[in-house]
Symmetry: C2
């Protein structure tokens, strides 16, 4: 069965996009068929994967608001034959208001994704993974992702504010379970771990204590090569494959692949 | 005239909260009377200023949704006699939905703040600065800040994605001018500048080229002391006053104080 990850955390700048694109590349690099859905109007995941996403271009907005089929917005990602992405443009920021009075507005992505995944399966081209990149809020876009998803992947930055909002996110996931029984927070990834600071170690320890086995053994180090990669329209996996950042995303991908969906 | 800054940028983790609290402390440290309004349901500014903000406690939610007077939610900040703050709790995340059908919902903060500032002025205790910390989105909370504010301060992280969303923010500010004539983006602050990387220099150069004089000469360096301070419930101004981070916020505060509101 296709594993559908929602990469979410309402705290800003914790590495959601960086995690979604680099994990996707690492998984695709070892042959898995992977789809990234960009659900952030800023379109950072689209940028990192080298996909055009200027205002007005076809994107996930057309799926959510106009109900168009997801298949029409799936683009191949350069350098990775089994990696595809659905871009987001700034038009998506209007979706929340435009869907305000629509019935079942939080299930729009789920319906489109389920149809698409079934079609692909029938055609013998089943996707192994879907990764949905969320904006830094718990509004309608993130709700759509949580209703469509099967597993939640929470990146936690090894900084002080990082743990403050996680409890709220877990509560929201519990609420969404009424609409989506199978949803579960299966994976937590520590990001921007800086081995030189006590703060990083403290946050990592607190996270492992309170979140237990969901926290991956691999922590992603803070690394300039990771933050440089998007300026070249690449993921760090191709920009600097031997760097500590790339290796840690490979490790994390391997850990995720070896665990099955139930923790 | 009280200077009312809206600290906004929909990109997450760029240093909005860090800038709001450390600038406020730097300004208050030299005698100015300063108010910080936390408008982010995560309540990171409240944490950094050492103000209790657990769910259900009195906070800015009561002002926005129940129309209570702001004066009832202004708390003194430890270690700074002329620094005050209005906390935010997680209850604030319900405000957007609860105000959905209320008339003039984007002007709720403005009304409360104008009443409060007038009262303070009449009592001979005029505030010199107000800094409103926004969440990483352009929803109703940030709209309330933009309608209430007079100047916009945009922190820009010296990382690749940083410039992608700034154009959108400027467009929103233009739209809000219909409701708030005096609103202007007067100040841009470069944050987390890492002198060792080409990327930082590139982003800083691009920002100065496209945003001109609004960009402060001072850039805040990436510094562990800044990110450690909130774990001690302090700003870096008291946690490590001689550190490069504290000194750069002092510099930035001086630059802002010397420029008057019109750029
Ligand atoms: N391990 C890392 N080392 C160094 N920089 C990193 C790392 N991970 C992410 N970054 C950088 O930190 C910034 C924030 O990361 P990113 O944009 O992925 O976070 P996000 O959670 O998606 O942000 P938002 O909340 O705005 O969606 C980016 O500039 C990114 O390049
Ligand atoms: N100059 C700096 N050097 C090092 N770390 C910093 C600096 N400025 C901010 N930080 C850290 O980076 C993280 C993001 O900063 P902060 O929370 O202030 O950003 P924000 O824009 O308010 O985030 P959000 O979008 O979630 O509101 C925090 O952990 C903070 O401590
Ligand atoms: Mg992102
Ligand atoms: Mg903040």
């Amino acid at each position: 069965q296709t594993r559908v990850f929602v990469v979410a955390n309402q705290k800003g700048g914790v590495g959601k996009t960086t995690t979604a694109v680099n994990l996707a590349a690492a998984l695709a690099g070892s042959g898995a068929r992977v789809l990234v859905v960009d659900l952030d109007p800023q379109g950072n995941a689209s940028t990192a994967l080298g996909i055009e996403h200027s205002e007005g271009l076809p994107n996930v907005y057309d799926v959510l608001v106009d109900g168009e089929p997801l298949a029409d917005f799936v683009y191949p990602v350069p350098r990775f034959p089994t990696l595809f992405a659905v871009p987001a443009t700034i038009d998506l920021s209007g979706a929340e208001l435009e869907l305000a009075s629509v019935v079942a507005r939080e299930a729009r992505l789920k319906r489109a994704l389920d149809v698409f995944l079934n079609e692909q399966e029938t055609a013998g081209e089943r996707f192994d993974y879907v990764l949905i990149d969320c904006p830094p809020s718990l509004g309608l876009l993130t709700m759509n992702a949580l209703v469509a998803g099967r597993e939640v992947l929470v990146p936690i930055q090894c900084e002080y504010y990082a743990l403050e909002g996680v409890e709220t996110l877990f509560r929201i996931v519990d609420l969404v379970r009424e609409l989506n029984r199978s949803l579960e927070v299966t994976t937590v990834l520590l990001t921007m771990y800086d081995a030189r600071t006590r703060l990083s170690a403290q946050v990592a320890e607190n996270a492992r204590e309170s979140l237990g086995r969901t926290v991956l053994r691999t922590a992603v180090p803070r690394s300039v090569r990771i933050s440089e990669a998007p300026s070249f329209g690449q993921t760090v996996m191709t920009w600097d494959p031997g760097s500590p950042g790339a290796l840690s995303y490979l490790e994390a991908a391997r850990e995720i692949a070896l665990r099955d969906a139930t923790v």
